[in-house]
């Protein structure tokens, strides 16, 4: 469940904030579908605590090289991907998942943030 990564990160929001980071999630559905999916996995949109953005035209996921078409699931969708962007808007870390379980752990993300801070970026 891809929302699993978001649930993990939600629990580490304090640590992300302390590291100077804002978490943003991008979902490739229109709000109706995104809402239905959240409810399906037991998430309340009020209880997410970070922006969950809707990208139904796949415009942003295309720019980030994340969208692909997969006819087994019969639709256009996103591969799981995580980016860390510094205060100057430069991408400093990127992970394009090769499978749906291929995601960085919150620990990895926090370590990458610490590296950035140490490097003065």
């Amino acid at each position: 469940m891809c929302h699993g990564q978001l649930a993990q990160l939600r629990e580490r929001l304090d640590e992300l904030q302390a590291a100077g980071a804002q978490l943003i999630a991008i979902d490739p559905h229109e709000p109706y579908a995104a809402q239905a999916l959240l409810e399906e996995v037991g998430f309340d949109a009020d209880d997410v605590h970070y922006p969950l953005l809707c990208d139904p035209a796949h415009a942003v996921s295309a720019a980030y090289g994340v969208a692909f078409q997969m006819r087994i699931h019969t639709e256009l969708c996103n591969r799981p991907a995580t980016f860390i962007i510094d205060r100057d808007g430069i991408i400093r870390y990127a992970k394009w998942g090769r499978s749906f379980a291929d995601r960085p752990s919150p620990k990895t993300i926090l370590e990458e943030l610490a590296k950035l801070a140490a490097a003065g970026q």
């Binding site: 891809c2 100077g20 995104a34 239905a36 999916l37 009020d46 969950l52 980016f83 991408i91 950035l116």
Partner: protein, 254 residues
């Protein structure tokens, strides 16, 4: 946010979005002019008919055998964005949708094609034009032998924003066997009177396919502005000079 509150927010913006949509479909020539891209096989071509876009799509799409095959010969059907035929398909979708209502009739004819890729593209494009699309051909396409065509057809039915289609959608749900198509029938039922958003159409038209897959470490992150589930508008640049951004893309289905 409860579903009721979400619906209230979307209803408020619905009329404005309809107005925007008409505007979006009126400036088709402008968008068509913006769709060029140097890296594609037919980059300099901007057809002004649906047939022209389908010819371009069929040409580029068949250039490469994109299906990677697993041991045992099972197709994985995964087509990444960095692949040129895919970008051509994207351009064709944009070009067709930019033609507006004039595209509807030829797209309906494509729904009868023997080629599943043509039927798929037609059903997908009809979704973006859904308010101008008659119900009957979409209901027929929702019974196509290929799940991918059924999926985009039920999306298009939902994108019409016609709550009176509830019974038809429930009848489709009764006989549907594909998990994904069932899920999308659910989305169509959930959206009720909310047709395709003008902002979604505008995002589709404004995207430059040649820029897809350009994000790279050490390079500026592609800027974006998107609406959130709780009704805010968020831009990446909001955080410039303030905070790091951890950007997570979710598939969202499974």
């Amino acid at each position: 946010m409860t579903v009721a509150r979400l619906c209230a927010v979307t209803t408020r913006t619905h009329k404005r979005r309809l107005a925007n949509r008409i505007l979006a479909l009126t400036v088709t020539g402008l968008f068509a002019a913006l769709l060029g891209s140097a890296s594609l096989a037919h980059a300099d071509e901007v057809p002004d008919t649906v047939a022209g876009w389908f010819d371009l799509f069929a040409d580029d799409w068949s250039e490469q055998d994109w299906m990677t095959r697993r041991p045992g010969g099972r197709a994985t059907y995964m087509r990444p964005l960095e692949e040129e035929g895919w970008k051509s398909r994207w351009r064709a979708l944009q070009g067709i949708v930019a033609l507006g209502e004039a595209a509807v009739e030829p797209l309906l004819a494509e729904l009868a094609s023997d080629d599943v890729d043509r039927r798929t593209l037609a059903a997908q494009a009809l979704g973006y034009l859904a308010p101008a699309v008659p119900v009957e051909p979409l209901l027929s396409a929702a019974e196509d032998e290929e799940a991918v065509v059924r999926l985009y057809a039920v999306d298009a039915l939902g994108m019409r924003g016609d709550p009176t289609l509830g019974d038809e959608l429930k009848a489709l749900l009764e006989v549907e066997t594909n998990r994904d198509v069932k899920q999308h029938i659910g989305y169509a039922l959930a959206r009720g009177e909310h047709g395709v958003d003008a902002e979604t159409v505008q995002q589709l038209l404004a995207t430059d396919a040649s820029q897809s897959g350009t994000a790279a470490v050490g390079q500026p992150a592609p800027e974006f502005t998107l609406g959130s589930l709780t009704g805010e508008t968020v831009s990446l640049s909001d955080f410039r000079g303030q905070q790091y951004v951890v950007l997570v893309f979710i598939y969202g289905d499974t």
